[in-house]
Subunit: 346 residues, 2 copies
């Protein structure tokens, strides 16, 4: 009989609320024969304040045993900027080699976009997750003096770039439009840029059906607001991916509906799924958060584990729910979760 | 009697066409007693192909003698990516210490924006121009092999950050709303991020009237499309500035109207003014390019040299011209230039 052994990390702020709804929908969608086991972990600001720990080796060993991880949000103003990001979120992505950071953007019918007209938005960003300027390389000398120098080193390897580029080509190949755009800044960041561009062009030869284009990250932000229909699959570096996926989320209906997967394709480590939004301390605990992004992250999780039919049922339920929102009074976090749970079960 | 000794670099593609119109408007707006001398330089793809040179020491010596530089656009598909960018554009910004890269974004009445509704957009980005990931630090080992490693080093100094932050505070202080936002990614790029944040907070104490906020670059892209009215002055690093100013240009009417100044505030070296757009080889030589961004760059140039009244006349002429475009047939590059020249003279 089948089973899913899930690590659940509600985290901080609205993370708690949205993860509860994600689990509600997950339970509702799973067939009776699938045994769902969940174990909750208390990572985040509270644990940091209590113990000074963000993510220990023992934690990593425990997490490693799960089939997948569902994360709400990590981060709180009471913790200095960078401590939980580097000490938990990025540490986990690096430790579990989550090199494919998958972020779909689809503007669903009935969803408001800040863009004029009726833009067609349906693309997926494959963001590299373990290299680039995110490695934590760099340092500071003469800190706090007028002679301070701080550096950040973007590290890019042929190994790391090729595997994520290859993943993106395979995804593009599997989609009807078969288009792939590389986003970088190879006219300025020439060392990393040439590595990315050369590998992209080399792998392209193996995928003759995929139409490719290159664009600079600055130009890409223009296209994302003026011609978002242009994009099908995007592959890009860790930092550019961070930036373009927030913009992509904004134009495709907001971060309330933006899901993401931190994927280790080989399965050596569990993959982690999380909404793109943060912990939003300003609205935490009030039942105001939209759990849709978390529910869509559960769909990505199910798809990753091979439950394609269940993932599709969630996507459909979300699309139906969103299409019926206009003109209705706002619902609470759990009301939206209840409605989605009913839909996926039904 | 007063005089302006201007270096003119038309450059590649549409650069030639738009610069001609910029000069037309400049001549028309200047009072009779101001002597305008211009010297044209042939930098760009043609010179590179003919001589292999992008910008020599002798060129820099010659340019140094001018009061200011007007640039069209540099770049052509026939030149490998990076050669002219690093060898000319960035070399000049670094050699002439253009550390204040000024990019105003104002959505003028009658101008189309990709955003829905009627967004109020009127802010200016102060982008650092001589540090960050643009320094060319970094390198490649095992090039072209499966073991290639490429690095890019972002270099940030207290000296470099403080002077640009100070410039931005002074600009914010001089504007009615007196707001300044720092954009960085200090939760991930903690070395550079803390340097920027600490200096920003320190200088803020000297400007108690300026309201400040910090935001991560990814969140900033969201606000730029959902709440652009939020921004008054933005200060940010070289790479983030590159990205957010293209997005800002896109939402504020497109790069056809986006001007920029590469400023050396001390006056030790001439400052350079250029449209944000590139050389657009696809439409070059057809009279299709909109010279407005170049004309607005001429206004920035005049303001920098102390010709405030003349700069304001250009801004007004452009606003009037743009407000009357809707529904009219498209005009050629020189027709737009003629119309603006008539307006500023009248
Ligand atoms: C919180 C931060 C470390 C993270 C990132 O920069 O990757 C977030 O912005 C994201 O996109 O998941
Ligand atoms: C052409 C390139 C070097 C340049 C930059 O990245 O600064 C351009 O994009 C700009 O914004 O002026």
């Amino acid at each position: 009989s089948r089973s899913i052994n899930l690590a659940v990390i509600p985290g901080d702020g609205i993370g708690q609320e949205v993860v509860a709804e994600g689990l509600k929908v997950l339970s509702a969608v799973l067939p009776q024969d699938v045994k769902l086991e969940t174990k909750e972990y208390d990572f985040g600001a509270k644990r940091y304040h209590a113990t000074g720990e963000t993510l220990t080796d023992a934690d990593l060993d425990a997490l490693k045993k799960h089939d997948a991880i569902l994360l709400g949000a990590i981060g709180d103003p009471s913790v200095p900027s960078g401590v939980l990001e580097r000490g938990f979120l990025l540490k986990l992505r690096f430790a579990f080699d989550h090199h494919v950071n998958l972020r779909p953007s689809k503007l669903l019918p009935g969803v408001a976009t800040p863009l004029a007209g009726e833009p067609q938005i349906d693309f997926v960003v494959v963001r590299e997750g373990t290299e680039g300027p995110y490695t934590g390389n760099g340092g500071t000398i003469r800190k706090g003096t007028e002679h301070e120098v701080a550096t950040e080193v973007s590290v890019n390897t042929a190994f790391g770039v090729e595997r994520v580029v290859r993943d993106a080509f395979a995804r593009a190949q599997a989609r009807p439009r078969k288009k792939l755009a590389l986003i970088h800044k190879n006219n300025v960041l020439t060392f990393a840029g040439h590595l990315w561009t050369n590998i992209f062009n080399k792998v392209a030869e193996e995928f003759p059906e995929v139409t490719t284009e290159y664009m600079h990250v600055d130009a890409a932000t223009i296209y994302l607001v003026t011609q978002p229909e242009r994009f099908d699959v995007i592959v890009t570096d860790n930092l550019f991916g961070d930036i373009v996926t927030d913009l992509a989320a904004a134009v495709a209906g907001g971060i309330g509906v933006a899901a993401s997967g931190n994927i280790n394709p080989s399965g050596e480590f569990p993959s982690m799924f999380e909404p793109v939004h943060g912990s939003a301390p300003d609205i935490a605990g009030q039942g105001k958060a939209d759990p849709t992004a978390t529910v869509l992250s559960v769909a990505l999780l199910l798809r990753h584990l091979g439950y394609e039919a269940e993932a599709a049922r969630i996507d459909e339920a979300v699309a139906a729910d969103l299409s019926e929102r206009t003109g209705k009074p706002a619902r609470s976090t759990s009301e939206i979760g209840d409605a989605l749970a009913v839909r996926v079960a039904g």
